[in-house]
């Protein structure tokens, strides 16, 4: 393992802004694993740290294939993590809306550009991503439909779901999208949580990446069989919204199985605790997403289901 500074900005009063990378193996740039780009992505940092630990042990055992190298970047935005801000500390811009970046541009364009210069040459790119809404997710691989997405490769992670989604205008400036445009096979991996650490799902995500790398013969590792991934389009998720704003109480967790008419969640009036809405499952399926904040705003998508008629 070698540790290096991939990008740095000298600051006026704070310690310098540094993006640190951990490199394993030698030769061909095979896999790059990207962690947190936003200040609230603690789980993404944690998952990378687990990955660094596992790769270090594999490397010590000589299990990284010849002429293959792996780079892990646990955090591309330490400044925002340390100030508990989600986005860039000065102008509130999102590094993951600045790719491919621009070395002569604004600060977050420079950061994105500095990272992308280092990582655009990798054959495979894996990003521990977070959703724009606060909540828990069923672990899955997410790919943007750019016309270059390779679904068969995505299945090799062995996670229960591969979710395909149509890029919206702002998605074109994300790392995942630009990796694909620059001919990297790019995958976003969603674990259960973001702002708090879920060890089990971080472990599952790391195993999935090891699975994938072993199938590409980047490491030799007795891989877990994993799941036969089901491919779903994000537009086919069944979205259930809060009819009224209030206190949200969930009765299910992400990844849980539900059948039609199961009670999924309750929304209560904050002053009287009177029940505004009882949310029942319209269908049998898997809970793909659950809102995880006490307050639910009117029309917020609080639960998303993946339909499954065969669920018993």
């Amino acid at each position: 393992m070698t540790e290096e500074i991939l990008f740095q900005i000298k600051a006026l009063y704070r310690d310098d802004f540094r993006i640190r990378g951990y490199r394993f193996g030698n030769g061909e740039d095979s896999v790059c694993i990207m962690g947190s780009m936003r200040g609230n992505e603690y789980q993404q940092i944690y998952a990378c740290a687990l990955m660094i630990d596992k790769l270090k042990r594999l490397e010590e055992k000589g299990r990284i294939s010849k002429n293959r190298s792996v780079l892990v970047i646990p955090c591309a935005n330490p400044y925002s993590v340390n100030t508990k801000k989600r986005f860039w500390t000065v102008d509130n811009t999102d590094i993951n809306r600045m790719f491919p970046g621009y070395s002569l541009g604004e600060t977050t364009q420079r950061i994105a550009g500095g990272i992308f210069d280092e990582i655009k040459k990798y054959k495979y790119g894996v990003q521990f991503a977070s959703f724009y809404m606060p909540g828990y997710f069923v672990p899955h691989i997410r790919m943007m439909k750019t016309g270059r997405e390779n679904i068969e490769l995505a299945k090799q992670f062995g996670l229960p779901y591969v979710v395909l989604h149509h890029p919206r205008p702002f998605d074109t400036a994300t790392l995942n999208y630009n990796w694909q445009i620059w001919n990297t096979d790019a995958f976003s991996i969603y674990t259960t949580s973001t702002g708090n650490i879920d060890k089990k799902s971080a472990e599952q995500a790391c195993d999935a990446i090891l699975n994938f790398m072993s199938k590409q013969e980047i490491i030799s590792f007795r891989s877990y069989e994993g799941y036969i991934s089901r491919v779903v389009e994000s537009k086919d998720f069944i979205t259930i919204r809060a009819e009224k704003a209030g206190f949200f109480e969930s009765c299910v967790s992400a990844g849980g199985k539900v059948t039609k008419d199961n009670l999924l969640a309750v929304i209560k009036d904050p002053y009287t605790l009177r029940v505004h809405q009882e949310i029942y499952s319209p269908q049998s399926g898997i809970v793909a997403f659950v809102h995880n904040e006490t307050l639910a705003y009117q029309n917020t998508a609080v639960i998303k289901l993946i339909e499954d008629e065969d669920m018993l």
Partner: protein, 322 residues
């Protein structure tokens, strides 16, 4: 004195979690002469920290009431598209950390913000002109200007020329801009001019008066306002689809920026525009100079800069001399 019809109308509302409704309101003024069925929308406050449009809304309404007989058609004034942002000194939508100008045209089945955005678009649909007033941001000061996406330049340039602004900047299309308010309205044939002027968190009264003059000039052009004595500047126009008309001055180092030249200055190659200083070490870290002759139409207001922060924009001399 002829009578105007005036009403404060709730455009859309949504319930907040604890005993509060989010409300977007407009002031509708209907002219006395109903033979002209035209309507103009004056919109501001999509970014909650941009306040220059607040004075414009007031001033337009004041002048209409002072000269009620001159108005034909309908004026809708929306001073606060993002009212909780304005109230809490927040650029985006508080609690969602979301830029409201990235969620249009919205979605009537979407979350609260997408729903609100879609109702706003519905309300502006069919208008003959919309003016979306921005105030740069808290970091930069801008000369009064209109920004136009090249896709909509044919319909918008003739209108923009009537708006009494100093500058019209026609820029290249960018996918990200598809989710702006202006793009959404222009796509449904509501000509929408985006004004950028002044600086965030402040009101520059002279700019407010200049734009109010421009709005009456536009209304006059649309035959909604009869007045013979209109202020109408001839703007500098940059057809900058390829992005070569403007020099961007980005700070090469982090520090404290102290400007030497104000926005709107004519600068010559080598002129000092500002210094990036280090108060701890008592040194100048970098002297920002003009790389070429031109017009400094943007300048940095907020002193703290990171490496990369924009400190100014210069329109090249050959562009405005043409």
């Amino acid at each position: 004195m002829p009578n105007l019809k005036d009403a404060i109308i709730e455009v859309v509302s949504a319930e907040m979690p604890v005993d509060e409704r989010l409300m977007i309101k407009k002031h509708r003024i209907i002219g006395t002469d109903k033979t002209i069925g035209k309507r103009i929308c004056i919109v501001t406050g999509i970014h909650g920290d941009e306040l220059e449009g607040q004075f414009v809304c007031y001033e337009v309404s004041r002048r209409i009431h002072e000269n009620a007989g001159a108005l034909k058609g309908i004026v809708d004034i929306y001073p606060a598209m993002n009212p909780i942002g304005i109230d809490s000194v927040t650029r985006g939508i508080p609690a969602f950390d979301l830029d409201m100008n990235r969620i249009f045209p919205g979605n009537s089945d979407g979350d609260m913000n997408e729903y609100v955005a879609s109702e706003i678009i519905k309300d502006c649909r069919g208008a003959d002109l919309c003016i979306d007033i921005h105030a740069s941001n808290i970091f930069l000061t801008e000369v009064p200007q209109i920004r136009i996406n090249e896709l909509h330049k044919e319909s918008l340039i003739p209108l923009a020329k009537q708006a009494n602004m100093d500058f019209i900047w026609i820029h290249g299309n960018n996918t990200v801009l598809k989710s702006t308010f202006a793009y959404s309205l222009n796509s449904i044939q509501v000509p929408t001019l985006v004004v950028e002027m002044g600086v965030g968190m402040r009101i520059t009264k002279e700019y407010g008066i200049q734009l109010a003059d421009g709005i009456f000039s536009l209304m006059n052009y649309l035959e909604m306002w009869t007045d013979s004595n209109m202020n109408k500047k001839t703007p500098i126009i940059s057809y900058d689809q390829d992005g070569t008309d403007v020099i961007y001055l980005n700070a090469p180092v982090s520090g404290v920026y102290v400007k030497e030249r104000d926005h709107g200055s004519i600068v010559h190659r080598g002129d000092k525009i500002g210094n990036i200083i280090d108060p701890l070490g008592g040194k100048i870290l970098f002297e920002v100079t003009a790389p070429d002759d031109g017009w400094l139409f943007t300048s940095r207001e907020y002193p703290i800069v990171d490496a990369g922060s924009l400190v100014g924009r210069i329109l090249k001399k050959e562009v405005y001399e043409k």
